[in-house]
């Protein structure tokens, strides 16, 4: 979306340091699940601000959800999870979108320089201009967020309205929320507000209420207050998301590859210098003359 080089903190597949020099506070979108009423105003605002087509002409699939899942042109979704807890039915209305991880697996998985950037304020953005459509980010993401468009061959996801935020506005979804379920502000403010809300929930009987800001991905810039914080799964959130697979994939394997490629070439050069070429001495040349014409078939000759 709006690409802001001066605020870029990390760039995918880059061998040189990122260009960012701006000193800006990290931002967080706080999602207080306990006060979501499932009105979907955020979904509408997202589609409208980002000029994304409504792709809702699908058969009814037994839920109030707009779509079964995120899509390349549908970047955020209220999940209407129907679960049982303590013998009661609960509807966990949970806004789902890119989490804008502190340590983004997508960015580390991406092989295309500059296709994924992380801004100093914590927003992780896809730069479709540089995207090659390999889909590595889909496997790198622990939250299953990036979506590949079959028509453009590029991936898309929530930008946390990086264009609005860079102009000093809150994301469109936050602006549209009628219940203050969504808040947007600096990391310190939002975490303080989240902790305060958790205490409020505990006081009214939700003794397992907790903040969802998973450390396995370096914390996120979309943070939840979960009334049943001991079981994030009922909200459709992974319990311990991590990028440990990306560590193996983009860490250990790369060095093994380098060792084999460069070690192999170096080994061959050293071997050649030490042992030289292996030549067979020429036999005594045969004097010219008629050659006997053999008749047997040639073993090992298929042609």
């Amino acid at each position: 979306m709006a690409f802001e080089p001066l605020a870029v903190k990390a760039v995918s597949a880059s061998v040189t340091p990122p260009p960012g020099i701006k000193n800006v506070p990290e931002v967080i979108k706080l999602i207080d699940v306990s006060s979501c009423i499932g009105c979907k105003a955020c979904e509408v605002a997202c589609q409208e601000w980002n000029d994304l087509p409504a792709n809702v002409n699908r058969p009814f699939f037994g839920s109030y959800q707009t779509l079964p899942d995120l899509d390349w042109n549908f970047w955020q979704l209220i999940k209407f999870n129907e679960v049982q807890r303590d013998g009661r039915f609960i509807w966990t209305l949970t806004k789902y979108q890119c989490m804008h991880c502190g340590d983004p697996g997508c960015l580390r998985a991406c092989p295309a320089p500059g296709a994924i950037v992380q801004y100093a304020n914590g927003i992780v953005d896809f730069v479709q201009e540089n995207c090659i459509g390999c889909g590595f980010c889909i496997t790198g993401c622990p939250f299953d967020v990036p979506r590949l468009s079959p028509s453009t061959g590029k991936v898309y996801k929530c930008t946390l309205c990086s264009d609005r935020v860079s102009a000093g506005l809150e994301p469109a979804c936050v602006k549209a929320c009628p219940t203050k379920c969504l808040s947007f502000g600096t990391k310190d403010q939002m975490l303080a507000q989240a902790n305060y809300r958790v205490e409020q929930l505990k006081a009214i009987g939700y003794d397992k209420a907790a903040v969802y800001n998973p450390p396995g991905v370096g914390g996120t810039h979309a943070v939840y207050v979960l009334p049943y914080g001991d079981s994030p799964e009922i909200y459709g959130l992974p319990r311990n998301p991590s990028v440990s697979f990306v560590d193996v994939w983009k860490g250990g394997l790369r060095w093994l590859g380098n060792l084999v490629v460069f070690g192999g070439i170096l080994g061959a050069v050293l071997h050649y210098l030490r042992f030289g070429p292996r030549r067979v001495p020429e036999e005594e040349p045969v004097p010219a003359g008629p050659t006997p014409r053999p008749t047997e078939p040639v073993p090992g000759d298929n042609g």
Binding site: C134, A268, R278
Partner: protein, 218 residues
């Protein structure tokens, strides 16, 4: 031609068909290696630009991969019977350090292929099949679950690394260390001395057949 002209004795080593298949495998492998390295490690990304741009490389890599697998399977059918490891091959492998150190003595004679070539062949076939299976998963990431995709990335990278390591060895042997090999795979013939020295058992099989030719006669 002068009657006194001296001629070398040559031995037919690879038919035209075998050479075409070998170079089809070789060319597709090199494309897959270069395009794969471009996506594997950012300092190699410039290779994608050389090969026509990164998005084109992303589209072409799996398609060339299918061509590679087809050529590799033809090669497997073509050479399977020549690639069976026998007792003398085991002896050869034990003597491999001597062979690598350039010694002539104490190395058992090889058949059409030596044990090192056979192992390289098996490695490439196994790697090729695993690269194909994992590559299909990576080709269509939205069609497969995350766990399978993760395993496929590890398998694809590991066996690509193994195959590239084997290729470095193969190119070094064929182009630099064992002089006279390249002629076999390009022109299809090797000198009789080369055949005796490197593939003695094979030479005795073809001795006296039409595979042995004198330059200027055929």
């Amino acid at each position: 031609m002068a009657v006194q002209e001296r001629r070398r004795v040559l031995v037919r080593r690879y038919s035209l068909f075998e050479r075409v298949v070998h170079w089809a495998v070789a060319v597709t492998f090199v494309y897959l290696m270069l395009s794969g390295l471009a996506l594997f490690w950012p300092p190699f990304f410039w290779l994608a630009q050389v090969l026509g741009g990164p998005t084109l490389v992303r589209i072409m890599h799996p398609i060339v991969g299918i061509a590679f697998i087809v050529a590799l399977l033809v090669m497997l059918a073509m050479w399977a019977k020549d690639m069976v490891l026998d007792r003398l091959d085991i002896e050869w492998l034990k003597a491999a350090p001597k062979y690598a150190a350039g010694q002539e003595e104490g190395i058992p004679e090889s058949g059409r292929f030596n044990a090192g070539q056979k192992l390289l062949f098996y490695l490439q076939v196994v790697a090729g099949i695993l690269l194909l299976l994992s590559g299909i998963v990576l080709w269509f990431p939205t069609q497969f679950p995350a766990g399978l995709r993760q395993v496929s990335f590890i398998v694809h990278d590991l066996f690509a690394i193994a195959a590239i390591g084997a290729l470095i060895l193969h190119v070094y042997m064929g182009l630099f260390y064992i002089r006279g090999s390249l002629q076999g795979m390009v022109e299809g013939v090797v000198s009789r001395a080369w055949a005796r020295a490197h593939h003695g058992r094979w030479y005795r099989q073809v001795e006296g057949t039409s595979a042995v030719i004198e330059e200027g006669h055929d």
